[in-house]
Symmetry: C2
Subunit: 204 residues, 2 copies
């Protein structure tokens, strides 16, 4: 099992822009800042932290691929030689936290004042709606890249907006009004479970 690194780490310096260049990045290494990380990387790092600390089990789903042709070279691992991307039927992330089912999608925008709803695909909206009916805790994490702001928005708000035919985007103000804002940090990189705790409180 992969061990979570706990010692001998260069201390985290909030305003230090230098990167640890002497350490090659490993697959299992943990990044200590959000600089240069995509939202997906930030969430994956956070999920790794939550997993190793036994706080939650949340994974990103693999990209669905239709495999057509595979070579099995001798003394070497199988190589997929022909495959195609398939349409996903779910959101990217799901998992379990304190007995609750979590389901969410992560979206980035470079816009500064609104979030375009075309960032969502119909299958994601349908899936979030189905999961809500099963009493899952469903939301989206929206990152305004230019503003460096992160919002955890309930899926119900996104579904309602998406279903309004004449609505092509939601304004930043609407998002602020209907979401919890979170700050990127150290461990985890993006503490979105703090908001899930609020959703759980709101529910009970």
């Amino acid at each position: 099992m992969v061990k979570y690194p706990t010692g001998s780490l260069t201390p985290y310096a909030k305003n230090n822009n230098t990167t640890i260049s002497s350490h090659k990045k490993h697959k299992t290494s943990v990044n200590f800042s959000d600089r240069g990380m995509t939202l997906e990387q930030q969430i994956n790092e956070s999920n790794k932290y939550y997993l190793f600390q036994d706080i939650a089990v949340v994974h990103k789903k693999p990209t669905p691929v239709q495999i057509v042709k595979v070579d099995y070279p001798k003394r070497s691992r199988a190589v997929i030689k022909e495959a195609y991307f398939r349409q996903a039927s779910t959101t990217d992330y799901n998992g379990v936290y304190k007995g609750y089912y979590l389901d969410f999608e992560a979206k980035e925008t470079r816009n500064k004042a609104s979030f375009p709803l075309k960032n969502f695909h119909e299958h994601q909206i349908v899936h979030l709606d189905k999961c809500l009916k099963q009493k899952g805790i469903c939301f989206t994490i929206i990152k305004f890249v230019s503003l460096n702001r992160y919002f955890v928005t309930p899926a119900s708000f996104i579904i309602n907006a998406w279903n309004q035919i004449d609505k092509s985007s939601v304004s930043l103000n609407e998002i602020i009004e209907h979401s919890y804002e979170i700050k990127s940090g150290y461990r985890p990189t993006l503490p979105y479970l703090e908001v899930v705790d609020k959703f759980i409180l709101d529910r009970n």
Copy 2:
């Protein structure tokens, strides 16, 4: 959205071995018997049924693939030209049912009196254990192909057996003792949620 077929279907005949050859199979069609279906197909059909009936949302996770090279031919969809299978870090199935998180693995054996534990990989056992700690409902569906018998076995039993160093298999009798048996049927093909209801009752 895909519609679940509700009418104009040839009635299900339990002892009728002919197949409906005049109807071409569509991706969204539903099979009406377990003959010739693998356990995975049976579970996928059942999940489709549960999904379209708004009973539960359970999906098989895609096979994780590391994509190395993709061609983007003009006027044609992208072709993955080089990719490799990656080690999964979870089980194959998860989802949500009545607010409960479900997580399970499906296994077939051609054995008649025991189930070899080497069918489970360490990452599956670790994952099931992590999900149990988060109060997920975790189990395995085991099919004894030669006997045409299906068991829904709590993950805790499998984890305990797997952790016994000198134990390489669990006997059919042990499985009978610790599991609920289910019969394959019509709709759904494999009604495993009936057992989940029992797990929920046992818990409360």
